[in-house]
Symmetry: C2
Subunit: 554 residues, 2 copies
């Protein structure tokens, strides 16, 4: 009998389920659910970089996407689903009670953003990250050393410390903290006990300073020194972590019924989206797998023995098995990527949404259609116009730190900039400069890997931007001076997650075997244009100078 | 009998005539004419900073505005008009033939931008300005020393040199060159002979390196060394210059008939708009008269004996009688002011004009109305929202050099910048930062005057922005930490020009007397808010740091 697995992929704005034939990787059905509360802008404050998500958005999406996707499948598929695995954004932790229930699902906390998941791009914990870094540098063991040597405000400890300092109610009610990817897997097994649920190696190793060499999480003394509020929490977290090829348990009766699946379905241990995306894109050693969406997550794998004792400074960590079990997983990334294009789009939409929206010249329905139609076309039209602009012609140089800088050298206090403006600097010219800035940000990451002794042989791109924007992809190939392969799968993260489920449920004995059978290969390749490469070398120097200035100012 | 004078005020986008009762300054009629070719964007290329204006735009406006304004006046006024004076933007020179006719009005040059007036804000001559400065520093006499020590690409010699280098046809056909303010006065007198028409002290002294100490314009050897193309031109220009209280001649029969006025009407010598604006705003010694429109022109007068032998570095010149005859006129200014707000508006309009404009959801006429309505409201709505944003809250710091920097220290190669951007930086926040940047640019000018030993006792504001934007004016008062008086006259430039006409035609014996009788005083005063002053001190440091960085990059 043919076996099927489900990859559940929780992104920043929506969750997707993908049902895959494990024999050949054929994608049978895929359903997306946009988080409704998130879409309404609830619990967020972009100006303060506060981004929170309600657990109900996740649970509703879990049920909806699997049930609907199964409806699209031919008869006989549901009965032969053998595994479900989960990938999510991260670090996206939540405070939970003794049963492992997120506080926002418990009475009195329903509308409290501090009782919800703190989304990866939430940067409210800048101060806490600074403090963690200061203490880490003074401590006899540097607990940040496997995470690039700089702890980020996007990560587990900074976020939880910020929340419990700010919200005494949450502090008192929080028994433990759980990452999004761990909680969804646990929910599906029916056992969310925070002391026993299986924690992801990927999340723990890259974001929570967990390492075997430390015997697990950082020392209790370190945590208490950071803040006495953390006292005792470590015992209510975890010691052990697991790679994505391990089973977390089996589908609970409750969820089996809800989803129309059997209780024999194996639930795999979760991992982060970018890591399982790299799996889905068939990552090879020394190929940078770049998930390009709202931000980028740049994944690299290398044989354990080749990385050896090197600490790769300024990246987001080096974790045994975080991507492919048995290989060293190295993570880097840009805090904002597509988000920068979206920001510029929002800026240009301002008159539409704030002035035209109040016009009395046309009826409400037509007005809404007109605004939607116009908004929808902005990025595409900007791209067409930007493509016509010769490199360096506009003189505009931008910096892609509108959401801080993740790597190299995490610093969330940094900001974006646009220089070289004159009265003729129009929207397509600024847009092009923003695209170039995101490409320069990519180049800075490549440069760092190479400077730290990790070679890069090529790039495999995946994610929305990689698929959709030829402009962006060609500019990145030119700036990196490196060919870029684009993974064929529309849903590399979900596909990688379905591959992990196929291993966790025993269809395959390891990830490599699952990739070989289920992978969909490369769709196209961008090659650097030598003439452009030369021009961008000069602009990249301007970008670096601008970056140094901004960094010195902060 | 009551006598009347007409002030003709040529701005960047339109010309205005104002008919004034010389007894009490009462404004009887005012008519504006927008330059039609300019409005269509003809002869310009904003990306290359090329801004040219066709002489027909000026001539059509001359006739239309005076004829229409006279129609609005009671009977008996036309017969008692005794003087007309002219102010224009500058330096706005044009190549003319032997009769003083701008080449664009001669066969073969009708559509050639190089045969038209080169508007003040045209920055195509950056290279030529650099060359003039280099040569001036090597020469035994520094011909730039009365013009702040740095020659600008906005000025006479740089512009004409650029045009004749670029366009051999214009070079061959150009007998001489004339400033806009001199040409209009000459046209009205019917004698445009470039060798005899009366040249403005204001234009010559501030923009053409004319000074009594040099015996007039710079030495022939200097000009030929600059470029052999300039050989002989000096003899076809001028030696003498005249202040605005002097008569250029009387109205020609041709124009008397066109306008319905007598040939006894005296035509005054022209001057620049900002200088006569300062007259109209009743400038006092050591008060900075700030004309705030697309750019700013900042005028200061001081008794000749008090300035003495000092050279005020980095401003646009110190000229005996350029504002008030008998007083030293000091000029400074910002290359872009309202133009920066207009640039941001154009940026935000992009989706309206490039996407919505192509929608098929509504009919063409409604669409145009909707676009116009929305565009029209952008600045007002931005201002309302920007006012609510606390100082320094957004973290955005901008630089106001989108059209280069006029003063202090002219440098047209400089560009604008916006820093401190994050994903929450919305249009009102960026707009506020742009307004603050223009205020910081004003502060840099004040600082320079003071550093060079010229005190500033207060500011008198005039021009469109001063009248219209409370947001801008309060921010400037806070940043300058100085009260700002706003001149009551809606048309201070045209009023000052009418005052000059009243002196040139003998109604009054000097400008002070005309001001006393015809002035309309102060409308309101902005006072700095101490709390804001302190906050802006810190932001101003950020502005200066950003400026230093950008300046070092160029």
């Amino acid at each position: 009998m043919t076996k099927y697995t489900i990859g559940l992929d929780y992104g920043s704005d929506s969750v997707r389920s993908l049902i895959v034939n494990t024999e050949n990787g054929k994608e049978l059905a895929s359903v997306v659910f946009e988080y409704p509360r998130w879409k309404d802008g609830k619990y967020c404050n972009a100006l303060n970089n506060q981004f929170r998500q309600h657990p109900k958005d996740y649970l509703e999406g879990l049920e909806y996407t699997i049930v609907e996707a199964l409806k699209q499948c031919p008869e006989g598929v549901a009965e032969n689903v053998v595994g479900i695995s989960v990938d999510t954004t991260g670090s996206t932790p939540v405070a939970v009670d003794e049963k492992g229930t997120p506080l926002a699902l418990t009475p009195g906390f329903e509308e409290n953003p501090n009782a919800m998941f703190v989304l990866w791009k939430d940067h409210t914990a800048v101060k806490e990250a600074v403090q963690i870094n200061e203490l880490a540098k003074k401590w006899d063991v540097d607990f940040t050393k496997f995470e690039g040597g700089i702890y980020s405000s996007e990560w587990f400890w900074a976020k939880l410390l910020h929340v419990i300092r700010e919200d005494a109610g949450v502090y008192r009610a929080a028994y433990s903290w759980v990452e999004h990817c761990d909680w969804i897997s646990a929910v599906l097994t029916g056992d969310t006990n925070p002391k026993t649920l299986k924690r992801s190696r990927c999340a723990a190793g890259h974001k929570a300073m967990w390492h075997e060499a430390f015997g697990g999480l950082p020392a209790e003394e370190f945590l208490v020194e950071l803040d006495p509020l953390l006292s005792g929490l470590k015992d209510r977290l975890y010691k052990e972590t697991f790679t994505c090829d391990v089973a977390a348990g089996k589908l609970s009766a409750e969820w089996a019924e809800k989803l129309g699946l059997s209780t024999d379905v194996v639930i795999g241990v979760g991992a982060f989206d970018a890591h399982l995306g790299a799996v889905g894109a068939e990552i090879e050693p020394y190929y940078l797998s770049k998930v390009m969406g709202t931000s980028t997550c740049d994944m690299l794998i290398a044989p354990m023995e080749e990385v050896g004792d090197k600490f790769i400074n300024g990246i987001c960590g080096q974790v045994d098995g975080s991507i492919i079990p048995g290989m060293m997983g190295l993570e880097a990334g840009q805090s904002a990527f597509g988000d920068i294009y979206a920001w510029f789009k929002r800026l240009l939409e301002w008159p539409l949404k704030n002035i035209l929206a109040e016009s009395e010249l046309i009826d409400e329905a037509t007005k809404q259609k007109l605004i939607e139609e116009t908004s929808y076309k902005i990025i595409a039209k900007l791209s067409i116009e930007a493509e016509k602009i010769p490199i360096a012609e506009s003189g505009i140089v931008a910096l892609d730190w509108m959401n801080g800088r993740r790597t190299p050298d995490a610093n969330q206090a940094l900001k974006g900039a646009i220089t070289g403006l004159n009265l003729g600097s129009d929207a397509p010219r600024i847009f092009r400069a923003l695209v170039e800035a995101t490409a320069f940000g990519s180049k800075a990451i490549n440069d760092r890997f190479i400077a730290e002794g990790v070679r890069i042989d090529g790039v495999i791109a995946l994610g929305g931007v990689a698929k959709k924007s030829k402009l962006v992809m060609q500019i990145i190939a030119d700036v990196l001076d490196m060919p870029i392969k684009v993974a064929r799968s529309e849903q590399a993260c979900a596909l990688g997650t379905a591959m992990a489920a196929a291993v966790a449920s025993g269809v395959y004995s390891n990830i490599a075997e699952a990739q070989k059978n289920m992978g969909s290969g490369i769709e196209m390749e961008y090659h650097p244009i030598p003439e452009n490469v030369e021009k961008y070398k000069m602009l990249y120097e301007d970008y670096k100078n601008l970056g140094s200035f901004i960094e010195n100012q902060v």
